[in-house]
């Protein structure tokens, strides 16, 4: 995508203004992480100190060691979380693109009603379906396994299905038409045309899926019984213990560490996929 770039002060000012806004907003967005980072380098005494210390004047690193070793097997939790995240990610990417296709490009009786029904499943607060859903999983004997956390991903999460459907509907009809004339079947069209063209949406979905799985602690809490299978988010909550004795610097140290992998994945994903998309998208 090309932006017009007339020379002259007006364009340069516009660019500078844009940069300024971006930088200011970025700093604001950085604040939460900055607070976490700063607290992880302070002793508990310093965190509470008066007047408040904005920049720690020395780096107290013991929280990182303590946080990871003194409480819970975070190494184990990390591996569990990575495993679960990957499985769920595959499920979401696969199911959302697969299920969105009929909703976007095929016509069949009851399509719109079914679409609304699917969407409406997001409108009921999960608090009230928690118990019935748990009972179903209990009858299936899936408690204390990763199945209740992973299988729903393969059934599709309406948010992602909806997103893919919007993107698929934005693709001009000529492309699949041409492919059909060339003899490609529907599944082939789905795989070779629709999915690649919706790559930006898939990247977004991947990122959301990773973040959500990484940070969810309620699902692991009620479905997992064996501590060796716990995830990082759950471990982090457990670190708090009872309210009166939270060691915030340890909690923040572990929080910082657990935020870094998703962050790195973000940066990596974007560089990798954005390149591919920019070249193919504009060719259309």
């Amino acid at each position: 995508m090309v932006r017009n770039s007339t020379s002259g002060t007006k364009a340069a000012l516009g660019r500078a203004a844009a940069y300024l806004v971006i930088i200011v907003v970025s700093v604001l967005f950085l604040l939460p992480f900055f607070w976490m980072l700063k607290s992880s380098f302070q002793t508990v005494r310093e965190i509470n100190a008066f007047p408040p210390e904005v920049f720690p004047h020395h780096l107290y690193l013991k929280s990182y060691v303590d946080g990871l070793t003194a409480y819970l097997p975070f190494g184990r939790f990390f591996l569990n979380t990575v495993f679960l995240t990957i499985v769920v990610l595959i499920g979401h990417v696969f199911s959302s693109s697969l299920v969105a296709y009929p909703f976007a490009r095929l016509t069949f009786p009851g399509r719109n009603i079914l679409f609304v029904v699917m969407l409406s499943t997001m409108m009921l607060p999960p608090s009230v379906t928690l118990v019935p859903l748990y009972l179903i999983f209990s009858k299936l004997r899936w408690i204390n396994t990763y199945l209740p956390l992973a299988v729903p991903a393969f059934l599709g999460w309406p948010f992602y299905i909806f997103l893919m459907r919007q993107f698929m509907m934005g693709i001009p009809e000529e492309l699949p038409e041409a492919a059909r004339i060339d003899g490609l079947t529907e599944p082939g069209i789905w795989l070779r045309i629709m999915v690649p063209l919706c790559a930006p949406a898939l990247v977004s979905i991947s990122l959301f899926s990773i973040i959500n799985t990484w940070g969810d602690f309620m699902q692991p809490l009620i479905y997992l019984r064996d501590q060796a299978t716990y995830t990082i988010a759950l471990g982090l909550q457990m670190m708090q213990g009872l309210d009166q004795q939270i060691r915030w610097n340890d909690v923040m140290a572990v929080s910082v560490l657990t935020t870094i992998p998703p962050m790195l994945i973000f940066l990596f994903f974007q560089r990798y996929f954005v390149q591919g998309v920019t070249f193919s998208g504009s060719k259309a």
């Binding site: 090309v2 971006i22 976490m36 409108m123 608090s127 509907m169 934005g170 990247v203 973040i211």
Partner: protein, 281 residues
């Protein structure tokens, strides 16, 4: 292609929903069987539950302001980020950073930011030569504070808008540029119309999600002060998991469901006149 998925979907998703619909006509203490009570729950809701109306009002307030605000902010920022910038990957990761901060840290963190003396709010107002107001402790400013907080979560909508912007074919802009169209015209004649499906998505998702706002009120303000941040979902959650009245909570949840569904259907209906799908519909 659809039927096996449909079956499993019905069992795991629609099944529990229907169960909760049944519960809404019962007295259900969770640990023992539900007792049928007919429409009692709904009658109580309307006639004797002050918090029903109050929490509904709070929620409408929140939705009415945060949804448009978030859409405009995220779209605007996505436009800004869509240029060829140096370090654009970093900026795009940065907008997602707040979503990655563990919930554990939220309460303390946001109190620090809104602190009227030494936090961001205090510093900001001090620079303006004014006294910072109290946010979370002030019944009039608690919702605005949470709405401002919600702006930190525009990472996902920004990402989606960016994905949409990237898919706009470049030749459209080139042609417009050759025709001498100004950037503003390009924005309104090319960008916006093509982006309408994505706007629809973020609008609908924004509505669905913000009607269910809960976590910030639960973690930071506990519904206060003076129930100013008692949102409908919090009221519902408390009835179900703290008072163990899951029947009443289910009834409340279906009222919320109906409201959200109504809004969503209305938006979809209206979308026929303002959403433009590039391909076949």
């Amino acid at each position: 292609m659809i039927s096996p998925w449909l079956l499993r979907f019905l069992v795991l998703t629609v099944g529990p929903m229907l169960a909760s619909l049944y519960f809404s006509f019962t007295d259900y203490p969770i640990l023992s069987a539900p007792q049928w009570t007919g429409v009692d729950n709904f009658r109580t809701m309307v006639a004797s539950d002050d918090l029903f109306w109050l929490s509904l009002g709070n929620t409408f307030y929140y939705v009415g302001i945060s949804v448009p605000l978030n859409i405009v902010a995220s779209f605007g920022f996505a436009l800004l980020l869509n240029r060829k910038l140096r370090g654009e990957d970093v900026y795009r990761t940065l907008v997602y950073l707040p979503a990655m901060v563990p919930i554990v840290a939220s309460a303390v963190l946001w109190k620090w930011i809104f602190n009227s003396q030494s936090g961001l709010s205090g510093i900001f107002f001090h620079l303006l030569g004014m006294q910072s107001p109290h946010w979370f402790e002030n019944p009039a400013l608690s919702k605005p504070a949470l709405i401002i907080m919600s702006l930190w979560n525009i990472g996902p909508p920004i990402t989606i808008f960016l994905a949409g912007l990237q898919g706009i074919p470049g030749y459209l802009y080139e042609a417009a540029h050759i025709d001498g169209a100004k950037p503003m015209t390009q924005l309104f004649r090319i960008t916006l119309p093509i982006m309408t499906p994505v706007v629809l998505f973020n609008l609908v998702m924004g509505i669905i999600n913000s009607f269910q706002v809960f976590a910030p009120a639960y973690i930071i303000t506990q519904g206060g002060p003076l129930n100013s941040t008692m949102f409908f979902m919090y009221h519902l959650y408390r009835q179900g998991f703290q008072f163990f009245k899951m029947g009443y909570a289910s009834a409340l949840s279906w009222v919320l469901f109906a409201i959200i569904l109504l809004f969503t259907l209305t938006i979809f209906r209206s979308s026929r006149s303002w959403v433009f799908y590039h391909g076949a519909g």
